[in-house]
């Protein structure tokens, strides 16, 4: 398993506490970039720009990736474009919502 896969795998332990779905299956993670084998940049969004859990979820993502031994610097970029939409969810994510 390479580092990118490892990061994505670990991010599945970070849950949106309101929906109780992890950030990967919820489709919040847009991109994971690895530079110099250990510097990680995560580009992510939230379901709505006024999400009250804004700080908690982004910090959670950072803490989680920082906890992986092979990582050195972790940067989390929160973006609103493209906006999150339901089609960004995985089939598993949708099934949590009863879809």
């Amino acid at each position: 398993m390479n580092l990118k896969e490892k990061v994505l795998n670990e991010l599945k332990t970070v849950y949106d506490p309101e929906l109780n779905i992890n950030v990967v299956d919820l489709g919040l993670i847009y991109n994971v970039e690895i530079a110099d084998d250990a510097d990680v940049t995560i580009t992510m969004t939230l379901t709505t720009p006024g999400c009250p859990l804004h700080d908690s979820i982004t910090k959670g993502v950072r803490y989680c990736v920082e906890g992986i031994e092979e990582t050195r610097n972790v940067e989390v970029n929160l973006v609103w474009e493209p906006a999150w939409s339901p089609d960004k969810m995985t089939a598993e994510g949708k099934s949590y919502l009863g879809r």
């Binding site: 970070v14 006024g50 939409s85 009863g98």
Partner: protein, 414 residues
């Protein structure tokens, strides 16, 4: 892609202070009502104990909850930080001292309620100032800004007219306008401030809690313009004592509320979350009750029974629309605040509970159903002037509200 880091989370001690105070006020208001409410059955609503209980419920509970919730939700809904949190804490202490002494004085010596009333007014004015300064920072005003901004104007008018009423009572000056001022005070406080505020925040909270996407927002403009027109025309009708204008005003209020209900149903149909949380479902049910009461008010206005039924209708509007909405949302807001306080530093490091795990949802359906039943019993007791029904209904209601308060506070054990 434009990176944005908009951390708008408020220091949770601020909204929590308001919510704690409000829950204590709610319990006291219910005890007062239980001990003194029998006279309401005879249609005597204007009694010191009832004034005290009503103001504890409306100012001490509903207004303080609304303020606490706004300290939490305004940054979320308007993507801007609270203007000055320190000022917010001072505002809390001033308002809490004002409301506690004001309600106490209304009970013991209403003629001396002027000074505590002014202290309450100062606290509320500080809140309005805080909100105006916060909303001014908003980059792009939206229809939510119009709802919340207008609600704040109505709150100011309510308090200003309330103080005027005490002044009239104390000095006898302007006694001939007392009735008119009293009616506008009620209209602004109940339908102006609370309804517009709940409308505004519902447009943020309903999509958030149901995970709705791709719904139209054009209806919100009609809701706003029609409902606010209804408020203005009803005020004019009270001042001019014109019954035709009152009917038009009531019709517009009904139309505005009906469009809001319809719009919310469209948003709910577009939801991704198939199974909605129970407290949120009751907050949605409150919309149906509010709509029904607007319809009843419009119908009753055309009959001769309006003066008899106005009190019971206002009572049911307060309980089944405003209180039920607020309690429904409190079951979402309090766990969120506590979760943020306790677990936001743990997420990503350790396993953390979901917000749903923070509340005992099993008791919600029986508890809220009992609440609705109790309000209907009290409403019936008012209509038929049946003291025994009142005692039964109010006893159930007080117990239910105390259990609800306990259940909301029990989240702090999680």
């Amino acid at each position: 892609m434009l990176p944005q880091n908009m951390g708008n989370e408020t220091n949770i001690k601020l909204p929590f202070s308001f919510i704690f105070f409000s829950i204590v006020a709610l319990v006291f208001s219910q005890i007062l009502l239980l001990l003194n409410g029998q006279m309401m059955v005879d249609g005597s609503f204007r009694l010191p104990a009832i004034w005290s209980s009503a103001h504890l419920l409306i100012l001490g509970w509903a207004l303080m909850v609304a303020m606490g919730a706004m300290y939490q939700l305004v940054p979320v809904a308007f993507l801007t930080n609270i203007w000055n949190e320190k000022f917010g804490f001072i505002q809390f202490f001033v308002t809490a001292a004002g409301i506690a002494s004001f309600s106490g004085m209304l009970y013991c010596a209403p003629q001396k309620a002027m000074i505590p009333g002014i202290l309450t007014l100062v606290g509320i004015l500080m809140f309005l100032f805080q909100m105006v300064m916060t909303l001014k920072k908003q980059a792009k005003p939206t229809i939510l800004t119009a709802f919340v901004g207008s609600a704040l104007v109505c709150l100011f008018l309510t308090i200003f007219l309330g103080i005027t009423l005490i002044y009239c009572l104390k000095t006898g000056i302007g006694a001939e306008y007392y009735q008119t001022i009293f009616k506008i005070h009620l209209l602004m406080g109940i339908t102006g401030w609370f309804t517009l505020l709940i409308f505004g925040f519902s447009y943020k909270m309903v999509p958030m809690f149901s995970l709705s996407h791709g719904f139209p927002m054009v209806q919100a403009r009609y809701v706003y313009s029609i409902y606010v027109s209804g408020l203005v025309i009803t005020i004019i009708s009270f001042i001019s004592n014109n019954s035709v204008l009152t009917k038009i005003g009531f019709f517009l209020l009904l139309a505005g509320f009906s469009i809001f209900s319809w719009h919310i149903s469209i948003i709910i149909k577009k939801r991704l979350k198939k199974k909605l949380d129970k407290p949120f479902t009751f907050a949605l049910l409150a919309i149906g009750f509010g709509n029904l009461i607007h319809l009843a008010a419009f119908i009753v206005l055309r009959t001769r029974s309006f003066s008899t039924l106005a009190g019971p209708l206002i009572y049911s509007y307060l309980l089944l629309w405003i209180v039920l909405s607020i309690v429904g949302y409190l079951y979402k807001i309090v766990p969120f605040l506590w979760w943020t306080y306790k677990y936001s530093k743990e997420i990503g490091k350790n396993a953390v509970p979901s917000l749903k795990d923070m509340m005992n949802e099993k008791i919600v359906v029986p508890l809220f159903s009992l609440f609705v039943a109790a309000v209907l019993i009290v409403f019936t007791s008012f209509v038929f002037k049946a003291a025994i029904l009142f005692n039964i209904g109010q006893f159930i209601l007080s117990i239910v509200l105390i259990v609800i308060s306990y259940s909301i506070l029990s989240v702090l054990k999680k």
